[in-house]
């Protein structure tokens, strides 16, 4: 399927997708654009640390729904 930039920059609860740098760094200065649109805290939230594994995501959801 085809998705556009606006999706990539906001899909993560209003924060950018983790893949956005890899996807766009060859086409534009994506880092500067991200810094213009988001605060440092927001970028840290979007990119800091390792993403959760699928099992971790499942357990976390179960814990919050139970």
């Amino acid at each position: 399927m085809v998705i556009d930039f606006s999706y990539c920059v906001s899909t993560n609860e209003g924060l950018p997708c983790r893949n956005i740098v890899g996807c766009f760094q060859g086409r534009m200065d994506i880092i500067t654009l991200l810094r213009e649109r988001f605060t440092e805290d927001e970028l840290k939230r979007a990119f800091k640390g390792l993403p959760k594994s699928r099992i971790e995501r499942i357990i976390e959801s179960v814990n919050s729904d139970s």
Binding site: R18, G22, C23, R27, P51, K52, S61, V62
Partner: protein, 455 residues
């Protein structure tokens, strides 16, 4: 007249799945509960999966019997044919012998029902009446809808809204098989309502859809969750692909030098390759290559991590493979939505050197898919094109070296319902140049109508 397909008789369909966990030189550590940091126990997964599947998830038995009821359903389309790609070989002028395993012949059009059927069966015998799941582009949702219909289960699919709007045919497939498919975020769950309150037109994400599906499973009667990739039991079910291929090659006295598949969550690649990984673990010399996109790498690069005051950097999980190509990704993606999380089994095999990971840029993969369609006739799914790009690379190498390499690949699915991606490629929307300033300013201006994250 040469035979183009190696067809395994139905009575020869594999009767057991292969569990690579029995042979891993470095066993996987158990996953940890993020809340406690302690290993997850089976009872923690009981709200989402039936115990029979949890047992498979943690099993170290090498061979697990495929139930007769699952085999009966597999026979609707299995064993799948193994094709000799004579036309592609001729076009490339390569001495390599290329074979592709056609998983596109299943009713949903991909390898996904190999595990969907198994999961529907195990849930049914456990007494479950309904399955909930998420889907991005709709491949998994349609496979599960098909499987649930086969076993008389209800099926609820939470489909990422941007995909729901763009791909009506996958939704229609699901509904034709009796499933209920809703755009996510939906008003049907607390998770969905939270995001809709922020933005009634929220485009959704796989993360939100996963949350909705799990909430549905945990809070609804006689309902469990099902997923199409990453987990051990999913890879286990998919090994029927590689086990059939083993038999088909034996019928013609062939054995591969190179095994290739595309890798997103890892299920089709693992299903195809794990029986050959077993041979490699026991000393057989062969190359096993997992092809992934440069835009969403999970094996060739770690996920991007942002450090305060610094450029975003990749985590050094494993060395990066450089292909030396100048292709760059476009401002629109035709490769589908991806959730972070390669199958741990596959990650382990890459780190331990049994599987080589390579990344391919989007334009190269579409060019490969077009080459395949114009030689072998079949139009591949965009994901499958990553494997084809790798096949072309290895076939070219074989030509340069004058070697009669035997290359096999998993043709994981057809692209007949993903033609919007080919349309974007053929109409030149997926271009290969740096965006000019005015285009970038237009993108930034378009963002103004989208809400910024809350504090």
């Amino acid at each position: 007249m040469k035979d183009r397909k190696i067809v395994l008789p139905e009575k020869e369909i594999p009767r057991q799945w292969y569990n690579v966990q029995a042979d891993l030189p470095n066993p996987l550590p158990p996953p940890l509960n993020p809340a406690t940091g302690q290993p997850i126990t089976p009872d923690m997964l009981a709200p989402v999966f039936p115990m029979n599947l949890i047992e498979q998830e943690v099993s170290s038995e090498r061979w697990i019997d495929i139930p007769e009821q699952v085999l009966e359903k597999y026979l609707i389309w299995r064993p799948t044919p193994l094709h000799r790609a004579y036309s592609l070989e001729k076009f490339l002028g390569t001495p390599a012998r290329i074979y592709f395993k056609n998983e596109g012949v299943s009713p949903p059009g991909s390898h996904k029902p190999n595990t969907a059927i198994a999961q529907a069966y195990y849930n049914k015998v456990f007494g479950i009446k309904r399955l909930a799941t998420e889907t991005g582009a709709g491949q998994w949702g349609s496979a599960l809808a098909f499987a649930c219909n086969q076993f008389g289960l209800e099926c609820k699919v939470y489909m990422v809204r941007v995909s729901y709007n763009q791909k009506p045919y996958r939704r229609i497939m699901m509904e034709t098989w009796g499933a209920k498919c809703v755009p996510s975020p939906s008003p049907d769950t607390n998770a969905g309502r939270k995001f809709l309150a922020q933005n009634p037109e929220h485009p959704g994400s796989l993360g939100i859809s996963i949350s909705e599906a799990i909430e549905d499973a945990v809070t609804s009667k006689d309902t469990r969750y099902s997923l199409g990739s990453v987990l051990n039991h999913v890879l286990l079910h998919q090994t029927v692909i590689g086990l059939e291929t083993h038999k088909q090659l034996a019928m013609i006295g062939e054995y591969p030098d190179i095994v290739i598949g595309c890798a997103g969550g890892g299920s089709n690649f693992s299903g195809f390759a794990l029986p050959f990984v077993r041979d490699k673990i026991h000393g057989k010399e062969l190359k096993i290559i997992a092809a992934e996109p440069t835009s969403c790498p999970t094996m060739t690069k770690g996920p991007y991590v942002y450090d305060f005051g610094d450029t975003a950097e990749t985590t050094p999980l494993i060395p990066m493979h450089s292909l030396g190509h100048g292709f760059v990704p476009p401002p629109i993606h035709a490769g589908g939505l991806r959730y972070h999380g390669m199958a741990p089994i596959l990650s382990r095999l890459v780190v331990d050197g049994f599987v080589e990971a390579r990344a391919y840029a989007q334009l190269e993969t579409f060019a490969a898919g077009i080459t395949f369609a114009r030689t072998e006739g079949y139009i591949p799914a965009p994901e499958t094109n990553h494997a084809i790009a790798c096949v072309l690379e290895e076939a070219k190498k074989a030509k340069e070296e004058g070697k009669e390499q035997v290359i096999i690949m998993n043709w994981s699915g057809h692209g007949i319902i993903d033609l919007a991606a080919y349309d974007a490629y053929l109409s030149g929307k997926l271009e290969d140049f740096v965006l000019p300033d005015e285009e970038i300013q237009k993108l930034i201006k378009d963002l103004e109508k989208f809400p910024k994250p809350g504090k």
